[in-house]
Amino acid sequence: MRLNGIILPHKKGTENAETVAVPCPETVKISMSQHMGAPCRPVVKVGDRVTVGQKIGDCDTYMSCPIHSSVSGEVTAISDMLLANGKSCKAVEIACDGLQTVCEEISPPTVTDKASLVKAVRESGCCGLGGAGFPTHVKLDYDESKNKIDSLVINAAECEPYITSDYREMIENADGVINGIKTIKNLLGIEHVYIGIEVNKPKAIALFEEKLAGEEGYTVLRLKEAYPQGAEKVIAFNATGRIVTEGTLPSDHGILVMNVSTVGFINSYLETGMPLIERRITIDGDAVKKPCNLKVPIGMKLSEVLKIADTDIEQIHKLISGGPMMGVCVYDIDTPVCKTNNAFLALKKQGKLKKLWWHESAHTNCIRCGRCIEACPLGLMPTELEKAYDRKDRDALNKLKIDLCINCGSCSYVCPAKRSLAEKNQLAKGFAMSK
């Protein structure tokens, strides 16, 4: 058996661009909701002095993780900000003093077993850096009595076009990543580690194979270039051959899937104790004159980041946070950078690149060609889902398993009639869940 996938142009123009640290910005605005789960409450007041790595937001809820200051300076305001999903949350605005004084409490945590690792990872503010932002400590805190995790899958597929931040992590921080993998493997007692890398990154594959040569229990997987190779269910299946069935998590099948950058960060936290306050971000798109990888402090304004990459801001038509397949449109150019960002694409209007369409062309009737069905990695029937949603047939939607859709966008991508199937699927999912 094999899961479906589609061939996308790679456009990894920044794969050789070494990561550059950006200069400290004058102000930052740090959102209190940067991860999946409950947003944090600010624990600082206006006028407080903060230092680099100091905790500024926390939450008692389990499904959440704290937020730290990325700069040193003075808190100037605690304001409301609107998130991409339409909800609003608090944001801490800090005027930087430029000194970047490091918080005194920062010291490497003592980690000896699973419980202390979970606690340390929670304190680090770490969430899944692949894009979804699932709090990592929740993922690590599985119930050992119920599930025996035997496989750790390191997701380094990076299947979206343009993005190269995970690839740069593998090249620049290979030792750190491997060290992180070993630490997690040992602490959790996992038998086998699979590192899934798409074959379009031969250098990373060679590097990891070389570094792990001769060691037992590690496999570097050469994954086919087939989007969405990096989707959790897809990579879990390709690594272990186990299907993550409906309504279950990978941990129910003995699998733990972690993004390569997340592992790299956990390692650096265990070594230095510095929480998650900066991110490697790919800046690309046809409005960007110098596509690059930048190490950006969390909370920096996007417009300032784009200026560093010499972006033609007047020309931007669409600004996407993430990759072109699953990325979310940014509506405000001053949006602050957050933990889950891995790329920003600034696109000009009506750019028709070779074999790709940017603009939203008018759609025509479905001709039942079946391309969407062939493309869906989870074997759904997007065209049937669309029809079922259009006639508001909740039973049919549930029968067609709308809840399994991972919103990868493959169906919309391949549709010759240019129908917005992925968009309809999302609407349908909400509709089917509502009672």
Binding site: K318, C329, K355, R368, C369, G379, V414, A422
Partner: protein, 312 residues
């Protein structure tokens, strides 16, 4: 930059469009058209051109009358016109061909809602209506390389049953304009498969079923697949997106059904050819095939519904 555009993902699309799909089909039909022009002369080209033209005109008129956006750009009308022409004898009067395209485009397609909503293949319906309306003109099969001043006709190979395999394969035999040359149709079919416009499921199932079924009832299987409209029907009509099942499994069932019905009509009915009827009949059951061949999702869990409640 005044305002940033916000739209749902994905933000890129493949360059394949409906009109490109149709263009590929037209290209794939060209070898058969060229073969036909060589075998039957320039009138084959004239008749095909006429059918395309009238099909597009009917489509545009329907758009205007029904106040729908112009849909001639998707080229589906041109494909329908071309396919219908391929199903006609080369001597058919033009006015009859115009009636055929009217039935195909206006009655079968536009009245049901245009491209994507028709339940049956428009070209097939056009051909069947013409065959029932003008049986004499629709079975006027001229000999290959005929002289327009002194037309000589002959029965089709399916009726005579004595043609050579090579003649059938190359198309130097009597029959409809586009169906005679198996070679040219196979070239077109391979092109479509290579360009990933169609999958070979339905054609192989169709042709294979005709071959095996004929063999089982003691007929010449190779003769049955080369003669008549099996190649044209299997490659270009049984692969029409709109009117055939959507999953590979469904496509195979569709092909097998077409093959069996074709053979049954050919061997035991009074009509000499059954390809068009078989495809039309299978078009009608397509929604049911789709219903029973739904793809199973990856990781789908079948729940025993309601049963548990009854047991208590």
């Amino acid at each position: 930059m005044d305002k940033l555009t916000v739209s749902p993902s994905p933000h890129i699309r493949d360059s394949m469009t409906t009109s490109k799909v149709m263009t590929h089909v037209i290209i794939a039909l060209c070898p058969a058209l060229i073969a036909s022009v060589i075998i039957f002369g320039a009138r084959a080209l004239m008749l095909t051109g006429f059918c395309i033209l009238t099909a597009v005109v009917w489509e545009r008129l329907c758009n205007l009358i029904m106040k729908r956006p112009d849909s001639t750009g998707d080229l589906s009308a041109a494909v329908t016109g071309m396919l219908l022409a391929f199903n006609l004898p080369v001597t058919l009067p033009y006015w009859m061909a115009a009636i055929g395209t009217f039935v195909a485009i206006v009655i079968t397609k536009q009245l049901f809602g245009g491209l994507g909503h028709n339940f049956a293949n428009p070209a097939i319906v056009g051909r069947i209506v013409l065959m029932l309306s003008f049986p004499a003109a629709m079975s006027n099969w001229v000999v290959p390389f005929y002289n327009a001043d002194a037309i000589v006709t002959q029965p089709t190979p399916l009726v005579s049953g004595n043609a050579e395999y090579l003649d059938l394969f190359l198309g130097t035999t009597g029959g409809c304009l586009g169906e005679v040359s198996a070679l040219a149709l196979l070239i077109g079919g391979c092109y479509l498969v290579v360009m990933k416009i169609i999958t070979p499921h339905a054609p192989i199932a169709f042709i294979g079923t005709v071959f095996i079924f004929s063999y089982l009832v003691g007929r010449d299987g190779i003769y049955q697949i080369l003669a008549g409209g099996v190649m044209l029907g299997a490659i270009f009509m049984a692969t029409d997106y709109v009117t055939t099942p959507i999953t590979p499994k469904g496509k195979v069932i569709f092909g097998i059904g077409c093959g069996i019905i074709t053979c049954v009509i050919r061997f035991w009915c009074s009509a000499p050819e059954g390809v068009s009827y078989s495809i039309l009949l299978m078009n009608i059951v397509t929604p049911y095939i789709d219903m029973f061949t739904r793809k199973k999702a990856v990781g789908e869990v079948y729940k025993k519904q309601a049963k548990e409640g009854d047991a208590q």
